[in-house]
Symmetry: C2
Subunit: 409 residues, 2 copies
Amino acid sequence: MSGVAIAINAAISGAAYCMTVRMIPRFREMFIKANLFGNDLCKKDKPQVPESFGVLIGCVFLVSLFLFIPIPFAFDEAAATDAITGGKPDTFPHDKFVELIAALLSICCMIFLGFADDVLDLRWRHKLLLPTIATLPLLMVYYVNYNSTTVIMPNFARNLIGTSLNIGALYYVFMGMLAVFCTNAINILAGINGLEVGQSFIIAGSILVFNAIELLLGHQVDSHIFSIYFMLPFLATTLALWKFNKYPSQVFVGDTYCYFAGMTFAVVGILGHFSKTLLLFFLPQILNFLYSTPQLFHFVPCPRHRLPKYDSKTDLLHISTTEFRLEDLNAPGRLMVTVLRNLRLISWHTKADGVVRTNNFTLINFVLVVFGPVHERVVTQMLMGFQVLCTLIALTIRYPLANYFYAKT
Amino acid sequence: MSGVAIAINAAISGAAYCMTVRMIPRFREMFIKANLFGNDLCKKDKPQVPESFGVLIGCVFLVSLFLFIPIPFAFDEAAATDAITGGKPDTFPHDKFVELIAALLSICCMIFLGFADDVLDLRWRHKLLLPTIATLPLLMVYYVNYNSTTVIMPNFARNLIGTSLNIGALYYVFMGMLAVFCTNAINILAGINGLEVGQSFIIAGSILVFNAIELLLGHQVDSHIFSIYFMLPFLATTLALWKFNKYPSQVFVGDTYCYFAGMTFAVVGILGHFSKTLLLFFLPQILNFLYSTPQLFHFVPCPRHRLPKYDSKTDLLHISTTEFRLEDLNAPGRLMVTVLRNLRLISWHTKADGVVRTNNFTLINFVLVVFGPVHERVVTQMLMGFQVLCTLIALTIRYPLANYFYAKT
Ligand SMILES: [Mg+2]
Ligand SMILES: [Mg+2]
């Protein structure tokens, strides 16, 4: 009975929550001593805050799931050991078993590489390389287990292409890129207290709601139970981290956490076969990425940090800015800023000498452009509210609209 | 054909060697900047040496084996996908597949925890906890896959107990302890240039020779091929590390490497079903551990570091010492030092005030007690020579004597 397995998973998650809440304060000193700390620039006294606590909750998450490994098979009649031969029955879900282990391998590898990034401060190109490395075991297991690279086409494309298309190696490229996207998308929508953890919590919650709906509808039961096994301990440890990372942060989470969260989402999306729905839950991250492209790809000058500016007199956050001469930008850069300006998506201030000053292109700064100076806690709340809104939009798209596009004809 | 798989594994290992040799010098600066360095106390100018390079070669090892995952199944006829149904045949070696992934999970987890130890400088009790955590996935997979906890008894015990005995949970305790032992045993026979890497190289080489002998004898072919898959890339990356870690060290390896090496040995010992033979290859480490017990368990005062003392005038190493009053030791402590003294296994110097000065109880110091002041490079060579000698002894015990004890009657 998977019900029992989920109940045990929930119990383990509860224990993981309690343990994490106890452990985090005890490790603060140790992290600072190890030179893992940053200064919180959006506070009056710029306090020293220990960094990279993602590594701690990642460890608790891993141990929880290590202990859980035998449970789904202990309560599955199809997996019961043959009492006479002592061997596995033909019905033993070998593919589920190896997927569970491979998923853990990918997540463990990602936490490790994220921590290495935090400690060694790797370069930008590594941010693309590391998630690719960590997805390798998953892709290899997928290759050995299924190697099914067929995608179902939406209605409007069926006349052109047919109902399904085998995209071969491209499917693996897509899965690898999904992991790269999920990890980095969370990493670039970050920088104010609680934002990384808050958005991850809401995404995980959205996935859990989606899994529950699908289970109620009786769709692909195994895949969604599999996803729940990962989401419950993830939510539990993330909630514990939130207690200490919310405004005012007592600990920072580091790249480790963003990588860990992104990879966990990518893994359940890939192995649960709902990667398209997963991307819908990443709507704010996608918008932030698109909005950031002019700076990320250096069409517009990008300062080292794009965090909002803190005003210690009012305790509010203001937009941070970048400056350029319109004529110094190349053609695509000029086009981008002109479009953004006309859509009123960026602030625009032309100085006497012709230099243009705009906000940095991040969702956080956009909130400040629209609402004016806002308190740090409120910015996080607004962005989390937007994330919840996007989940509702995503579920609306997923259910009524998907029925339209993928209707059985 | 496993032959082809081994050849591909060897080719990947060769590439891994070349990559590691190129990468190590490029990462030296980055490690020092990340505060990961130590001073080499056994040199005239006490140079700053980057530390924890085990993490780099661990990563290369993991990537090599990630890429290798599908190979054994691509060249195995029993694993060929059914061309008609697209499904796996009944003969697909699911157990081997999941063991490969679980082994990688345990090793990846251990490298990660080892690196966390290096960075955060965890406490002594964690040194026992971390390898236990990292073995969990392996034990869980073993539990789901086999749960065979029967050990074959040697002849002399058969009259008492029977030919085999099911030791149940104890078997899992044994496997967990094997991992704890292997990781820590390498970690405490360490401290002079090249020693950790040198001993690990010889142990890995010994395992490879043993695997080859067993393959020639046709014993448990699958297990030994499995072991070879891990040992070849391990030897390749270790050899690359040796180039930079041998006297005079340009990089240090850190706890990360000792954990990585120990866990890799434990994994192949457990899954290859030759854990007893594996322990034979650890003879010098076992001797070092036994010799160290009086200090490790604080029967005799144990200084923070037990490294030999460096004499900058002669460039030679001298014993480092500990001091105590015989009457201050408790009864077991007094017994231990008296036995060691009478067996002439420790130096003994009674000062005028009755305080006794002996060498610190490590194999490195023992070499210096026997041979007097020796150059650092030579101490490593002597200990590596001893390791090779022990391998020969181990193989002698394993073959002629095991036949005697476990003869088919
Ligand atoms: Mg970083
Ligand atoms: Mg340490």
